[in-house]
C-alpha cells in the first residue's frame, strides 16, 4: 500500500463527505492507498504544507489558488471536491438588507482575508456601489454570530450549506446573495492541490478515483452515506451536519479529475482585473487534468 497524506482545508465537515466515505468504505484501500487525513485550524496552512512537501495533497479554494500561484507557491489544482461556489453574502432574512444596494453605508464582516474584496467589489458594482461605500471588518471566528446579533449588516465568506443551516437552527432566517449570480465568474469552491514538482500523478489519480467512487455512492445512497459519515467520529453526528449534508450533496464534483480550463482562465482574468494578482498565468500553471495526461 502507498501512503498519502491529505491536509483538509479545515476541521472535518460534510464538505469532506467523499473523503470520509472513501476512507470508511475502504475505497482508498482498494486503490492500494493508506490515506492519512489531517485537519488544520487555519485554512491558509494546507497549501503551504503541500508546497513545502510536507503532504502530497491539500484541500484549498480555487480563488486562494490563484493568489498563491501568483505569489510563486509551487501549487497546482489536480482535482475538484466541490464544483460550485459555496461562498455567499449573508444577511438576515427579516433584516433591513433586502438587496445588495441596501448595504450602502453598512458594515460587512469577512473571515478569510483572501479574495473577499474582489468578490464584494464586483457584487456591489452591479448595484451601483463601490467598496468605499461599505465598511469591511475582519470578524475572523464569528461569522454567523456577528450577523445574527446585528453587529454587522452582512458577512461574506459564509458557506451557503452551513451558515444558513446554522442560523436556521438558532431560529434566525438568513438571506443569501450568491456571488455567481451577482457578476462573479463561477469557480470551484473546494479543490485538491499538489506540488507539481513533486507529485506522483498515478498516486493522485488512484486517490481521485476512490473519491469519485465515494461521490457516486453518496449520490446513490444519501441516507446510508450520512450514517457512514456521522459514524466516523462522534463529534460529527449532530443536527447541523445532517442538514448540511443534504445541502452539500448536490455540489460534490461528480468527476473530480475533470478540469474546466475556461473556469480557471476566466477567474484568473477576473482577479487580474480587480488588481488582486498582477498579470495572468496560463491555465496549465494553475491546474492540470490528470486524466488527460
Amino acid at each position: 500500500q502507498d501512503r498519502l497524506t491529505l491536509i483538509l482545508d479545515w476541521f472535518v465537515n460534510p464538505d469532506h463527505g467523499p473523503i470520509i466515505v472513501a476512507q470508511e468504505q475502504g475505497y482508498f484501500a482498494d486503490q492500494g492507498l493508506a490515506v492519512e487525513v489531517v485537519a488544520p485550524a487555519d485554512p491558509s496552512d494546507p497549501p503551504k504544507m503541500v508546497a513545502a512537501g510536507q503532504a502530497e495533497l491539500a484541500i484549498s479554494y480555487q480563488p486562494q489558488l490563484h493568489l498563491q500561484v501568483a505569489e510563486g507557491l509551487p501549487l497546482v489544482r489536480v482535482g475538484t471536491l466541490v464544483a460550485t461556489p459555496l461562498n455567499c453574502l449573508l444577511a438576515l432574512e427579516d433584516g433591513p438588507i433586502e438587496t445588495i444596494a441596501d448595504l450602502e453605508g453598512g458594515t460587512i464582516g469577512f473571515s478569510v482575508a483572501g479574495v473577499e474584496q474582489a468578490l464584494l467589489g464586483t457584487m456591489l458594482a452591479r448595484h451601483g456601489l463601490a467598496l468605499e461605500d461599505v465598511r469591511l471588518v475582519n470578524v475572523n471566528w464569528s461569522l454567523s454570530p456577528s450577523v445574527m446579533s446585528g453587529q454587522v449588516d452582512a458577512v461574506l465568506g459564509a458557506f451557503r450549506n452551513f451558515e444558513l443551516n446554522q442560523m436556521a437552527l438558532e431560529g434566525v432566517a438568513g438571506r443569501c446573495f450568491y456571488p455567481e449570480e451577482e457578476g462573479v465568474p463561477a469557480y470551484d469552491e473546494l479543490i485538491y492541490v499538489a506540488n507539481p514538482d513533486r507529485m506522483d500523478p498515478d498516486l493522485l489519480r488512484r486517490f481521485l478515483r476512490a473519491t469519485e467512487r465515494a461521490t457516486q455512492y453518496i449520490v446513490n445512497h444519501p441516507e446510508e452515506s450520512w450514517e457512514i459519515f456521522a459514524g466516523s467520529a462522534p463529534e460529527l453526528d449532530d443536527a447541523l451536519n445532517e442538514m448540511a449534508w443534504a445541502d452539500t450533496l448536490p455540489r460534490f464534483a461528480l468527476r473530480p479529475e475533470a478540469l474546466d480550463e475556461d473556469r480557471y482562465a476566466r477567474f484568473e482574468a477576473f482577479l487580474a482585473e480587480t488588481g488582486l494578482v498582477e498579470g495572468t498565468r496560463p491555465v496549465d500553471a494553475l491546474a492540470v487534468d490528470l486524466g488527460a495526461q
Binding site: 487555519d42 491558509s44 471566528w141 454570530p145 446554522q166 437552527l169 463529534e235
Partner: protein
C-alpha cells in the same frame, strides 16, 4: 478540606455571575449560553469531552514540565552572563511577539501534526513567564551576600548556584504559577496549529459549527482543569514564597 470548599464557593460565585450576566444582558445563547444549557451539554457529551480532555491534559503536563525546565535553565543562563542577557534577552522578547499563524507552518513542518507541535507551542508560551520572572529574581543584587561569597572564594558560577538561585526561588515560584495558568491555553493554541483531538480542536470545531453549548462545555472543562492545576502548583510552591 477548606481548599476545596473555597474552590466550590468560588465556583458558585462564578456560576451566579454567569447566570446573572445572561439574565441582565439578555445575550442570545449563540453568544453566551446559560449555565444550565452548558451543564446539560456537559453531561450529554461527557464521553466526548473526556476523550478530548485527556489529550489536552497530556499536552499540558508535558508542556508544563518541559517549559518549566527550559524556562528555568534559560533564566539561569541569562543570569550567568551579561553578554547573553544583552544578546539573547531581546530575542526572547521578540519570540513572544510572533503570532501563532506565523509559527504554525514551521511547527507542523518540524514537529508534525501529532503531540509534538502542541507541546512545542505550549512550551513557547509557558517558557517565557518562567524565564522572565525567575531572571528578575536572579538579578536582584543581594550585595552583602554576594560580597561575602566572593570573600569566601566563590566563583561566579558557584555563587549563582549556592546563593543567587536559592534566593531567587520565590521568583521561580511566581513564574511557575503563571506557567500553570498559561499551559492549558498554550496547549489549546497548539491544537489550533493543527489537530484532530483535544479540547482546543473541539472548541474550534464547535465554534465553527455554532455549537456554542459544546464550545462552552469544553471551555468549562479546560478552565476547571486550569484552576485545579493552578491550585496544585500554588500549593506546591507555597513554601518557596512563605520564606521570609
Amino acid at each position: 478540606m477548606s481548599g476545596l470548599r473555597a474552590l466550590a464557593a468560588s465556583a458558585l460565585l462564578g456560576l451566579a455571575l454567569w447566570q446573572g450576566l445572561v439574565w441582565v444582558t439578555g445575550l442570545p445563547r449563540f453568544i453566551l449560553p446559560g449555565p444550565a444549557r452548558v451543564a446539560e451539554t456537559l453531561w450529554q457529551s461527557r464521553a466526548l469531552l473526556a476523550e478530548h480532555a485527556l489529550v489536552t491534559m497530556a499536552e499540558v503536563l508535558i508542556g508544563l514540565g518541559l517549559g518549566t525546565v527550559l524556562g528555568a535553565l534559560s533564566a539561569i543562563g541569562l543570569a550567568a552572563s551579561a553578554r547573553a542577557r544583552r544578546l539573547v534577552g531581546p530575542l526572547l522578547v521578540f519570540s513572544q511577539a510572533v503570532p501563532v499563524f506565523a509559527l504554525a507552518p514551521l511547527l507542523t513542518l518540524w514537529f508534525g501534526y501529532g503531540l509534538g507541535s502542541k507541546v512545542a507551542m505550549a512550551l513557547i508560551i509557558i517558557f517565557f513567564p518562567v524565564t522572565a520572572s525567575f531572571l528578575d529574581a536572579l538579578m536582584r543584587p543581594h550585595r552583602d551576600w554576594q560580597g561575602l561569597a566572593r570573600v569566601m572564594g566563590g566563583s561566579p558560577a558557584r555563587i549563582l548556584w549556592h546563593i543567587r538561585i536559592p534566593a531567587a526561588l520565590p521568583g521561580l515560584a511566581t513564574g511557575l504559577r503563571l506557567a500553570a495558568v498559561y499551559a492549558p491555553i498554550g496547549a489549546v493554541i497548539g491544537e489550533w496549529v493543527g489537530a484532530s483531538r483535544g479540547l482546543g480542536y473541539l472548541m474550534l470545531l464547535a465554534n465553527g459549527r455554532a455549537k456554542t453549548d459544546l464550545m462552552f462545555a469544553a471551555l468549562i472543562v479546560l478552565a476547571v482543569f486550569t484552576v485545579l492545576l493552578h491550585a496544585a502548583v500554588n500549593r506546591a510552591t507555597r513554601p518557596l514564597l512563605a520564606r521570609d
